[in-house]
């Protein structure tokens, strides 16, 4: 157990070092190149630093999930970010649908519609792409 923990610690240390060398200069280069690399995410693909989010990053996260974002996706993504700004939480399905109903319209305020866009767990997937924290109070 101790050994395993020590090994693991080394791993994380080297990761941290890489990240450290990633800073300043490289960051500058990356932004110039419109880098295809996603900023640091956890193993499920949620952003570690929410401030890393921009529309490019959203495209990249979506791509890594095998999705191509359309105008319909963007409508939901921007609304999700508005939800988060307003309530400081990543919504479950029902409140998301209700919020969409209030701000976009009845047509979009259906879980089927969201599943067509974002797959089986639309609230989770859309939150991930929109750069929201992983819903902690998930079922």
């Amino acid at each position: 157990m101790e050994n395993a923990m020590a090994d693991h610690k080394q791993d994380t240390e080297s990761v941290t070092n890489n990240q450290a060398s990633d800073t300043a200069l490289e960051k500058k280069q990356k932004s110039q190149e419109h880098s295809q690399e996603i900023p640091a995410t956890d193993s499920e693909g949620y952003l570690e630093n929410l401030s890393d989010w921009n529309e490019n990053v959203a495209e990249q996260i979506a791509q890594s999930e095998g999705m191509q974002l359309t105008e319909a996706h963007w409508q939901i993504i921007h609304l999700l970010r508005r939800f988060y700004e307003e309530f400081e939480l990543s919504p479950a399905m029902r409140p998301l649908v209700k919020y969409i109903g209030l701000h976009l319209g009845k047509e979009q305020a259906r879980s089927i519609y969201l599943m067509q866009l974002f797959g089986d767990s639309p609230a989770k997937m859309a939150s991930k792409i929109a750069g929201l924290p992983k819903p902690t109070n998930c079922l």
């Binding site: 395993a4 923990m5 109070n137 079922l139």
Partner: protein, 130 residues
């Protein structure tokens, strides 16, 4: 009758865990079923595999584990409350790149929905707070 128990108090800082455990034993002694013990707030520390009390004091995580194993009781720790406080299973340790996991065997991390569900599915849900 079918019972569930909720524990919100941390072991070794509050009596709540002891009371909950004695109550659980008395429930089983009466021939009732306990479906689930749900740990929330500081109660999540009951699920730590790294608890090391002196030899002459009760080892609460182990006692729950034995009670659960013997009687088919689920020991569920709220995942959001646990991860925040540094109680992780292997999955979460990996997800957050942490150097180790410390959830005791026989316990599982799950959502708060399990507490809601216990309140609905069981005849009685009895809570023990700090």
């Amino acid at each position: 009758m079918k019972y569930s128990i909720a524990v919100y108090g941390g072991p070794y800082s509050h009596q709540a865990t002891h009371t909950a455990f004695h109550f659980a034993q008395a429930v089983l002694d009466k021939g009732h079923e306990i479906q689930r013990v749900f740990f929330y707030h500081d109660g999540i520390y009951n699920g730590s595999a790294l608890v090391a009390p002196p030899q002459d004091e009760a080892n609460l995580p182990q006692q729950w584990q034995q009670l659960a194993e013997k009687n088919g009781v689920e020991l569920v720790v709220c995942i959001a409350a646990a991860v925040r406080r540094g109680l992780l299973d292997e999955n979460e340790a990996k997800r957050y790149s942490k150097p180790g996991s410390n959830l005791e065997q026989g316990y599982q991390l799950s959502g708060l929905g399990q507490l809601v569900d216990a309140g609905l599915e069981c005849d009685r849900l009895v809570s023990f707070g700090p």
